[in-house]
């Protein structure tokens, strides 16, 4: 794994996953993590991509509209904190991040194998 491919994997994961997450959160998260981890091409890099990007991709459709509302002034900070706080204490978010870590490791390993074979 190079530092470059890992960083590229991080950005690619977000760019690939977020538009799909706005249609279906889980599909978007999985597609983003798979593509990012594949580009990172290592078990460590893939795992890190899964760990770091799954949360933002998965939560993006929920948080973005709330944040825009807050920035537009149509929602106050207390309500934003209450609604985002509810989301953060949900145990399913942790399950998604752990699953993404494992998917990231697997697809990072596939990317690595491909690179080694070629």
């Amino acid at each position: 794994m190079t530092k470059k491919s890992f960083l590229a994997g991080l950005f690619i994961s977000l760019i690939a996953g977020i538009p799909i997450a706005f249609i279906h959160d889980l599909i978007g998260t999985i597609v983003g993590v798979v593509v990012g981890a594949f580009f990172a091409s290592s078990k460590k890099g893939g795992g890190a991509v899964g760990l770091l990007t799954s949360g933002p991709i998965y939560l993006c459709p929920y948080v973005t509209p709330l944040l825009l509302d807050y920035l537009n002034g149509s929602m106050n900070l207390l309500y934003l904190a209450l609604l985002v706080g509810y989301m953060l204490i949900n145990i399913f978010v942790i399950a998604v991040i752990v699953a993404s870590l494992l998917i990231g490791i697997f697809f990072g390993w596939i990317g690595l194998k491909l690179r080694e074979r070629e």
């Binding site: 690619i12 760019i15 690939a16 538009p19 799909i20 706005f22 249609i23 279906h24 959160d25 889980l26 599909i27 597609v31 593509v35 594949f38 580009f39 091409s41 459709p61 929920y62 973005t64 509209p65 709330l66 825009l68 509302d69 929602m75 309500y79 209450l82 609604l83 509810y86 989301m87 204490i89 949900n90 145990i91 399913f92 990317g111 491909l114 690179r115 070629e118």
Partner: protein, 325 residues
Amino acid sequence: MNKKTIIYITMLSMLLLYPMASLKASPGYNLSVFSPNNVTYDVDIHFSQVTKNATTGDILDLYEIHIIGKIKLISKRMMLDYIGWGFTVNVTVTENNNGDVRESEYNIPIPPIVAVKENTRFIYPTKLSMDLIQGDFGNASMQDILSRVSTNEPYTEIYVYNPFYIEVPVSIGDSIPYGVWNVTSQSGIIVNGRVTSEETITVNGVSYNTYLVNITKAEIINAVREFMDENISIPSGMRFNLGLYYDKDSGWLTKLNTVGGGEISEDNTTTKVILNGNLDLENAGTIMVQNKSYLDRMFGLPPFTFLALDVLFILAIVIIRIKRS
């Protein structure tokens, strides 16, 4: 596995991914309808009840309520196939009780407290909301309630049919169920709406191709007949109609209007009841109404643009990665 095989597999996966936003099954649900975020409706409901002396015409009793404001839907996945729905309610309620006018403003964020099962129209209450309704928390503090939020689960004994979306496509004459059903006792109140026409409507300046589903007084009477006392009869002058307009591409509710009322005469008094209500889609948020995603709508792009760009981006990344190795 050689390079060509990987590219072919990726292209095939992408081709399968592309239509997921609207097709899935036919008829079926659009994938985006289960998790609405930032979906805003303008609410305008007016109800009045005036009782007059039938001989003199003097007003004996007057009650009016006018609710105007906005309701916003938010959602968050609760379990693998259940999505929690919540609301932010921002309404002004004006009440007129025999000339005593009171105006109150409500701005309440309600975190996801009901659960929608994916690929169905079932809305389940959650165990937390059931405990709150049944008063099982007693004098529990907010901390006790919040500690239950993280492990909150759907209560699957009862479900309500979700009025916010339907399967698409539907045909004129098709029946759409609404109401509540108790799974354990196999009983409930189900009102069957009927698809009566396909209409193009304009809501808040946006034109939508819609299916119109009507629920009439007769359908409601049919649904509640078994629960009614035989001695109670519905006054013949009462009228009611509920019209729900669903976007043809996504099956999402774009407009709801209700009109109802009538006159009841008894003991030298006449009571006139009027109900008018409208729910107009102001912002479709993350729902793919007219096949446009949240990002397409935000940037004013044609349908499927962001999804198509995303698919091309993923293909390009895979091809670049394989060519470099």
